[in-house]
Symmetry: C2
Subunit: 301 residues, 2 copies
């Protein structure tokens, strides 16, 4: 498959995945009791019509390698996406990154209010665990409980939340490449990595297969962050739907400020090549995972 065709297939597959996530999320949110209407409005606002759905896509594509059920993978990928959505709501709060724009729309605390945004984030987080623990996610309780444990570790103090803490703390001090790499590995890397690992858990993959997927995910996760830092410098607010150059204005160290634009671009490409190399054992079935790796360094939003 040439690169152009791979890219077209990727675009279609991602759109299909995003539509499935959207439908599933709408069902989940509407089946909840509606008495606390404002809470559910805010949860929907923060999780529907959202982004590229990269994490569910990685889970679906990883699960597909092992011919695991797409319906199971969709539930798991959506649970991971809910963790991602809640983290954006809390990160945007005035006490945190104080960001009023998200995906081209007012952030949740602007569209509602701060208290509602805090609660909506809390409820989105726990909804992820409700979905994973439900028998509909997988008939084998060993699989469900492994998914719960993996997601909890990836998103807690030793994962995503820990990375956000390093990020906040690093605003006030000199940060080197090692710190910023560690910060990324926790803040965004852990969840992206678990998105692929979850597919392997659903597919009861071998240790070797799971490790290859995790390494792939770690490399694209880091490349994704470098691409994000590049977009913050080179992108436009219109294309990205979020505030641009906020890192520079906040005097925050990024991969770009530490490496320079050209070296950062090279580093991202090196990581992508590495990531694609991990997929050799999966042959043609990994075409979309290869394409998404390329997409990450080439994206404009």
């Amino acid at each position: 498959m040439n690169k152009q065709r791979a890219s077209k297939a990727l675009t279609e597959a991602m759109a299909e995945c995003a539509a499935m996530v959207e439908t599933f999320l709408k069902n989940v949110l509407s089946s909840q009791k509606s008495c606390e209407g404002k809470l559910y409005s805010a949860m929907g606002y923060a999780s529907l019509k959202g982004g590229k759905r990269l994490r569910p896509f990685l889970t679906l594509q990883s699960a597909k390698l092992f011919e695991a059920s797409e319906q199971y993978a969709l539930r798991v990928g959506t649970a991971i996406e809910l963790i991602h959505c809640y983290s954006l709501v809390h990160d945007d709060l005035p006490a945190m990154d104080n960001d009023s724009l998200r995906r081209g729309r007012p952030s949740c605390h602007i569209a509602f209010d701060e208290a509602t945004a805090i609660l909506a984030g809390d409820a989105l987080q726990v909804l992820a665990f409700e979905i994973l623990s439900d028998p509909k996610t997988h008939p084998d309780p060993n699989v469900r409980v492994a998914l719960v444990k993996g997601l909890a570790i990836a998103s807690g103090g030793g994962g995503m939340v820990g990375g956000q803490m390093i990020d906040l703390e690093s605003e006030n001090c000199d940060v080197d490449l090692e710190t910023i790499s560690r910060m990324q590995r926790l803040k965004t890397g852990a969840l992206i990595s678990f998105s692929c690992e979850a597919g392997a858990i659903l597919g009861k993959a071998s240790v070797e297969e799971k490790q290859a997927l995790i390494k792939y995910a770690q490399d694209i996760g880091l490349a994704f962050q470098i691409a994000d830092d590049l977009l913050d410098v080179l992108g436009t607010e219109e294309a990205t739907g979020k505030t641009i150059n906020k890192d520079g204005e906040a005097g925050k160290a990024t991969f770009v400020s530490l490496l320079g634009i050209s070296q950062a671009q090279k580093r991202a490409q090196f990581l992508i090549d590495n990531a694609i190399g991990q997929l050799d054992m999966f042959g043609n079935k990994a075409a979309n995972l290869r394409a998404i790796a390329d997409f990450i360094v080439e994206r404009r939003a």
Copy 2:
């Protein structure tokens, strides 16, 4: 057993339970990587040296009815307590209840800062699910996953967080007894109820036994809230370790403002009598559960 002896036995059993929770939590928090030191300090601040540990106590005592392992019950009760602790941290935030005093000490966001308090709350929440999903909590994955699902439902939008949303919304409008009862049932009742249900899950109780425990917990949960409202009017800041008469000053409807002091006291006693009635089938093994029901209406802090 007369009431005085029951009360002495209860005090000892509660202190023992609280000490076990403290030790377990210290172990859990210190075994986490300490690089994000500030996050873990805040998590410890918000969860150690904390309160009466009512929820873990209910789990331990409920598990004991079925001779379930105390070590398992301790892990489960502590996970529930972590949800309670995180909710206090988020509820105290300026955007929510704006409370600077908690358990006689500065609230988490005062002792640290708002961003750290938000993150510490997020990480405490997910730590609860990490603990529940770990094989150390119970060898049977069906039990672990039932605990995860039960805790997720009790603490999410259809439980604790939903109740907090009703509470915030009700500040701006006339509230009747039905709304305030529903608010309590979600905000504090769901988690207290699950504390007992979790013991029944661990003990593989019959449907009848589980239902009796849940009804017991719902009644003491509501009585607990009425007692809390009474303390807010009748208590002292010194004894309770928190800001007093804040509901009255905020013009907030409570069981006491709607029923009056005397009727509220009667209602609490009626609920306690009902709750104790549910325990008949458990005989002497439920002595501490009976004693804690009495303790709830008689407490001074």
